[in-house]
């Protein structure tokens, strides 16, 4: 699944930009002055070992955590002053499961569609389309708790796209799912990207890193490398992203 896009990322507008973005907790600096930008429609891989600061950075960009210093804008809105405007324009799927286990598929869709302000008819249309795309029509009234993990993840991803956000943030979306479902999941990601949605994704699977247009690797709160997977492999004289990652992340591990 190599990307065949011919548009050079740099010619597109930036939808996420950060400058010296920093998060300090009482004892340590979780995110240390990171600066980068993500272009519209790009699949941006955000890599790093556990505790490198990926989730903290992502929480600042989604308005869940206020930054200590630095600048950041998401979808054209400032993370300090316009956090609520950002929320209308982004989707988010966390590594912790985000749908309600005790609601049915249809009820989850209705709820999330409702709080994003979609009209009743839009919600009904979207529910039908979503279930059809995922081939889950028969499970419309099944409780989420009764579904296998792979289905849940695909569903959570689709629900986070309901309100047609400009950017979607995915925090380790494929953790714990089987290789086939992961492949299907990435097909969904490509589909979204082809429709112009910017995808910001963290992962621990290096084969998934290969699917990204560009990849940044965080080590100890800093971005140590940022390039296309091919560029990174050339720079570090590695044959796989796995080698690149281990070379960079080892000192901290």
């Amino acid at each position: 699944m190599e990307t065949t896009t011919t548009i050079k990322p740099d010619e597109r507008e930036s939808v996420i930009t950060t400058e010296q973005l920093t998060k300090r907790f009482a004892k340590f600096i979780a995110v240390d002055a990171i600066s980068f930008s993500v272009k519209k429609g790009e699949i941006f891989g955000f890599l790093g070992a556990n505790g490198a600061g990926k989730t903290t950075a992502m929480k600042m960009l989604t308005g869940l955590l206020s930054p200590s210093s630095g600048k950041a804008s998401v979808a054209g809105f400032d993370v300090y002053k316009q956090a609520e405007r950002i929320k209308q324009n982004i989707g988010y799927m966390s590594q912790r499961f985000s749908l309600y286990e005790d609601l049915t598929i249809a009820e989850n869709i209705r709820f999330y569609g409702g709080v994003y302000g979609l009209s009743r008819t839009t919600i009904a249309d979207k529910t039908g389309a979503l279930l059809q795309r995922l081939q889950l029509e028969h499970a419309r009234n099944a409780l989420i708790s009764s579904l296998p993990l792979g289905w849940k993840q695909k569903l959570a991803f689709s629900v986070s796209l309901l309100h047609e956000p400009a950017i979607i943030f995915l925090d380790e979306p494929t953790g714990g799912v089987d290789p086939i479902t992961r492949r299907q999941f990435w097909e969904l990601i490509y589909e979204a990207a082809s429709e112009g949605v910017t995808v910001f994704v963290t992962t621990h699977y290096m084969d998934e890193a290969e699917y990204c247009d560009r990849v940044s690797i965080m080590v100890n709160g800093r971005i140590e490398a940022l390039d296309s997977p091919r560029g990174l492999k050339e720079r570090f004289h590695a044959s796989t992203m796995d080698e690149v990652f281990v070379t960079l992340a080892r000192p901290s591990a």
Binding site: L65, S66, K87, S94, L103, G117
Partner: protein, 381 residues
């Protein structure tokens, strides 16, 4: 407004889909009213009594007879030794020892006065106090009866002595207002209703909000454009409604089963409950902001509840607490609502009568909601 409607819809679906919820909503009031109301009574039915009759005279037998005939005292042992009596208390066989010393009848007849000794196990001060007052009443009745007899049969010297000692009889007759039969069930029911709505409000609301944290869905909600106030209304209104239903249900049960008097205006009770539930739910929201798991929330809620209930005047009158504790009860919303509901139900208090308590609850509601709302944050630091 639409967002709140979607939040409420989701909450109600979840609440009523929870299999434990309906038994809690309907079972809790029934169990509390039917069981707790009988347990939470201060009537002391039978005091196990050891009787040491050192006199074995007509007068002493007459006195013992009076004790037994009231039905409040059951004789576990007759003896002639104080030692045996004390042992029974130590071995918890008896709660009270009635000691009639030798020469009881003789003293009565010659001096017009005699001593009896009552020893009580005061480990449970409540029972001891009540047993003591029963005993005092019986002895007073006996002495009054005997006094009349002495007056008529005793030699003049004894008569003058009795008169000289100022032993003129004062008959005290009590009349109990507002609860003439001293029916503890009528007294306890309003308080237990308060306990019921407080439990429902505090536990269900705090655990419900913390559950979103525990399973991680709160993060998903926080990245949506849901506003803070919408979230809070969406979370608290369902439990407010459930608590109001519980109150109505409990009052109905009380009326049907115990024929609890409803002297005052029920509207005042519901008006007060409206504000009181805002206080309780605000506390629930506060608890959810300081905890991360349902277990922690339950522990903190339980801790708050125990203190509020024990210091509310539900089981022990506030008037008999030490002054510092009475000051503490001024900060206890449970105490205010219990006072309101008791006074309205049993005394028929008007709004004017309970206005001070009502405004205290309003002030409490404003403060607690402000604190809880400030603490609940969509964006963390």
């Amino acid at each position: 407004m639409r967002t709140i409607a979607y939040l409420l819809q989701k909450e109600f679906v979840q609440i009523f889909r929870n299999k434990q919820m309906l038994p809690i909503i309907f079972g809790l009031p029934i169990v509390q009213l039917l069981v707790l109301i009988h347990a939470a009574t201060f009537e002391v039915k039978t005091v196990p009594t050891h009787i040491v009759d050192g006199d074995k005279s007509g007068a002493s037998r007459h006195l013992v007879e009076r004790f037994v005939s009231t039905g409040y005292f059951t004789v576990v042992q007759f003896s002639e030794s104080m030692k045996l009596g004390e042992e029974d208390i130590k071995r918890r066989k008896a709660t009270m020892v009635l000691v009639i010393p030798p020469g009881f009848e003789k003293d009565l007849l010659t001096r017009g006065a005699a001593k009896v000794n009552i020893i009580l196990n005061a480990l449970d001060g409540g029972i001891a106090g009540i047993a003591q007052s029963y005993a005092a009443m019986i002895i007073a009745g006996y002495s009054q009866e005997i006094q009349t007899e002495i007056m008529s049969i005793a030699p003049p010297s004894a008569q003058t002595q009795a008169a000289a000692s100022g032993n003129t009889m004062l008959a005290v007759r009590n009349s109990f207002w507002y609860n003439p039969e001293l029916n503890y069930k009528h007294f306890m029911l309003p308080g237990i209703l308060v306990l019921l709505v407080s439990l429902v409000g505090l536990f269900l609301s705090s655990m419900n909000i913390v559950k979103e944290k525990e399973v991680g869905t709160i993060e998903q909600l926080n990245v949506t454009p849901i506003k803070k106030y919408q979230f809070i209304i969406g979370k608290l209104v369902p439990f407010w409604m459930i608590a109001m239903f519980e109150l109505a249900f409990g009052l109905t049960l009380g009326k049907l089963i115990f024929n609890t008097p409803i002297v005052g205006n029920v509207g005042i009770i519901f008006l007060s409950a409206t504000v009181y539930m805002i206080v309780v739910l605000g506390l629930g929201l506060f608890v959810s902001t300081v905890t991360e798991t349902q277990q922690q929330a339950m522990f903190i809620a339980w801790f708050i509840m125990i203190i509020f209930v024990l210091m509310s005047g539900l089981f022990t009158p506030i008037e008999s607490m030490p002054p510092w504790a009475q000051v503490v009860t001024l900060f206890n919303p449970v105490a205010y609502f219990i006072e309101i509901i008791r006074r309205v139900l049993l005394k028929g208090a008007t709004f004017g009568d309970i206005e001070r308590q009502w405004w205290s609850l309003v002030a409490y509601a404003v403060v607690i909601i402000m604190i809880a709302v400030r603490r609940y944050r969509k964006v963390s630091d």
